[in-house]
């Protein structure tokens, strides 16, 4: 069973595109699971429409078991971060860090769907490029493909993953 970790930016964008519910149903149909970190839940507060701000509430989606939530202890985070050079490794927010730490501890059939250049760069740095997926690619795989801004494209993911891979090869960003 495939598991997709969603970061805050992707959740906000899917709401903005008006396809959030559709995505949940398409993923369920395929027998995949969507995972959201507890820290990320607190980061997705609203999305913008022409009429104004609309609050994002994932409570019902968790109750209907369309989404799974997870959280990690500080020690797991410390272990995850301990290999990086604090000066030169990309600086991630707690939500991204929690997702990546989870991915490293549970790599089996798990992918991180993000639009964050620093997260893709870190995956490259960890030599786990194949664990990242762009929103463009993800929507395509569940049959909801569409044209998206550059930040959500496969091209964007490849570009920043390469940056991280280059750092990995040069041993830059490690302690």
């Amino acid at each position: 069973m495939r598991r997709i970790l969603l970061d805050a930016n992707v959740i906000i964008k899917l709401h903005e595109l008006g396809v959030w519910t559709e995505v949940l149903l398409h993923v369920q149909k395929r027998g995949w699971r969507l995972l959201v970190a507890e820290t990320v839940v607190s980061e997705v507060d609203y999305f913008r429409t022409e009429e104004g701000h609309v609050p994002i509430d994932l409570t019902q989606d968790f109750q209907k078991e369309l989404l799974d939530r997870f959280d990690m202890g500080a020690e797991s985070l410390r272990k995850f971060r301990s290999g990086f050079d604090p000066l030169y490794a990309p600086e991630l927010d707690p939500g991204e860090t929690e997702c990546l730490a989870f991915l490293v501890e549970n790599p089996e059939s798990t992918l991180l769907c993000t639009s964050d250049s620093a997260a893709f760069r870190t995956l490259g740095l960890l030599n786990r490029s194949e664990k990242g997926i762009s929103l463009e690619e993800f929507l395509q795989q569940i049959g909801l493909g569409r044209r998206l801004p550059y930040q959500y494209t496969e091209k964007f993911r490849v570009r920043y993953t390469h940056e991280g891979q280059r750092d990995f090869l040069q041993r830059r960003g490690f302690r």
């Binding site: 507890e38 202890g73 929690e98 250049s117 550059y150």
Partner: protein
């Protein structure tokens, strides 16, 4: 120091009790106590809330070993507790973030640094302070209106980190010299521009004489003496109102109709300082009495609302260079969107819009470059290499 010890240390540094933390994070008092006594490990979302409240990066709590030496903040008049702990924490957090961006973007310039006037305190005199102001002005090429250029020169040339935050009392400012981030100044965002200009010059004196008055290992609570504050005010007056320029302007005013309150206002406008600053500088230059200065100030105060109708501006929330570095770091994938939001003090949604725009701009410029035809020299652009 363990995570538990760091949590307790950070809370106490903010002057907060467990119940204050509970009120602001909704994490129960017994849970907080368990974290600080290493009975229970915090979850990441809980640690994030605490890190935000304590104005520390998450990484601070995950490091091991001793806590690095905390920079000393030198206040003219220290605001009262608990406001001061909050302001100090914000100020140091901004300065550390600025430094972090410089390191990540590899843009830490070290060629030009602030002059280091390591003068023994007993040798410091008013004539020397006046000469130091003149020396700094000419070295920094501050011309006819030093106040108009000082902020830019300090930020762009000397890499001084200048922040504006709102706090009480308004008549105070602060500075610090961090081992990592270097010299930094905190000004009051509630003050009008000409008042901020004077505060900036005043704090600059403290930085230039940091070793003289603070020593190599300054201790917390090392408040400037009254004498040091008077030297700083003398320095600021002479830096922003250079005697020779002020004298020249006064002579022009005298020829035009004599020395009047409107003339003081015009001079204050010309040098972008307050009317009080002009009066005190005239008092010292022309050896007038304190009584004369006080009477002038009284008269100005009486007419202040009428004359002081200069337009002020809101200070920039963050330094221009800081913002440029944050954008560069985001564009290069060196900081995540959430970190960008925190550094820029904006919402995640706003940061997301920034990220989308920066990515689009980058994509379009790359597109344009890659479709350029290769010229005979092998250069993929329109310009021939000569």
């Amino acid at each position: 120091m363990s995570l538990a010890e760091r949590l307790k240390w950070a809370r106490e540094a903010m002057g907060l009790r467990l119940q204050d933390v509970f009120r602001r994070t909704e994490i129960g008092i017994s849970t907080l106590s368990d974290f600080e006594n290493a009975v229970r490990e915090p979850r990441v979302w809980q640690l994030k809330r605490l890190a935000e409240l304590y104005h520390r990066p998450l990484s601070f709590f995950l490091e091991e070993g001793p806590i690095p030496h905390q920079p000393v903040i030198c206040w003219r008049e220290r605001p009262s507790s608990p406001q001061v702990e909050e302001i100090e924490a914000q100020f140091l957090q901004l300065a550390e973030q600025y430094h972090r961006l410089e390191v990540l973007c590899q843009e830490r310039q070290t060629e030009v640094s602030l002059p280091d006037w390591d003068i023994p305190p007993h040798e410091m005199t008013y004539p020397l302070v006046q000469r130091l102001a003149q020396q700094f002005r000419s070295q920094s090429q501050l011309d006819s209106c030093p106040a108009c250029e000082l902020l830019w020169v300090l930020e762009e040339v000397y890499q001084v980190k200048v922040f504006h935050l709102p706090f009480e009392p308004t008549g105070t400012a602060a500075c610090a010299w961090g081992e990592s981030f270097g010299p930094a100044i905190l000004l009051n965002a509630r003050n009008v521009r000409w008042r901020r200009n004077f505060d900036l010059a005043h704090e600059l004196f403290h930085l230039l004489t940091w070793k003289t008055f603070r020593g190599k290992l300054p201790q917390p609570g090392n408040k400037p003496s009254e004498q040091e504050e008077r030297f700083a005010t003398c320095f600021a007056s002479n830096l922003l109102l250079p005697p020779e320029l002020l004298q020249q302007t006064l002579e022009e005013e005298q020829r035009a109709g004599g020395f009047t309150i409107p003339a003081i206002y015009r001079i204050a406008q010309r040098f972008d300082v307050s009317m009080e600053a002009v009066i005190w500088q005239i008092r010292f230059l022309y050896r007038m009495s304190d009584d004369w200065a006080s009477r002038c100030i009284q008269q100005c105060k009486y007419l202040k609302d009428f004359w002081e109708n200069r337009a002020s501006d809101s200070p920039p929330r963050l330094p221009r260079r800081y913002e440029a570095l944050a954008q560069k770091a985001l564009q290069q994938g060196l900081i995540s969107i959430g970190v960008f939001a925190q550094y820029m003090d904006i919402t995640r949604q706003e940061a997301l819009i920034w990220a989308e725009h920066l990515a689009e701009a980058q994509a379009s410029s790359l597109e344009e470059f890659s479709t350029g035809e290769t010229n005979s020299s092998g250069c993929k652009c329109d310009h021939q290499i000569t």
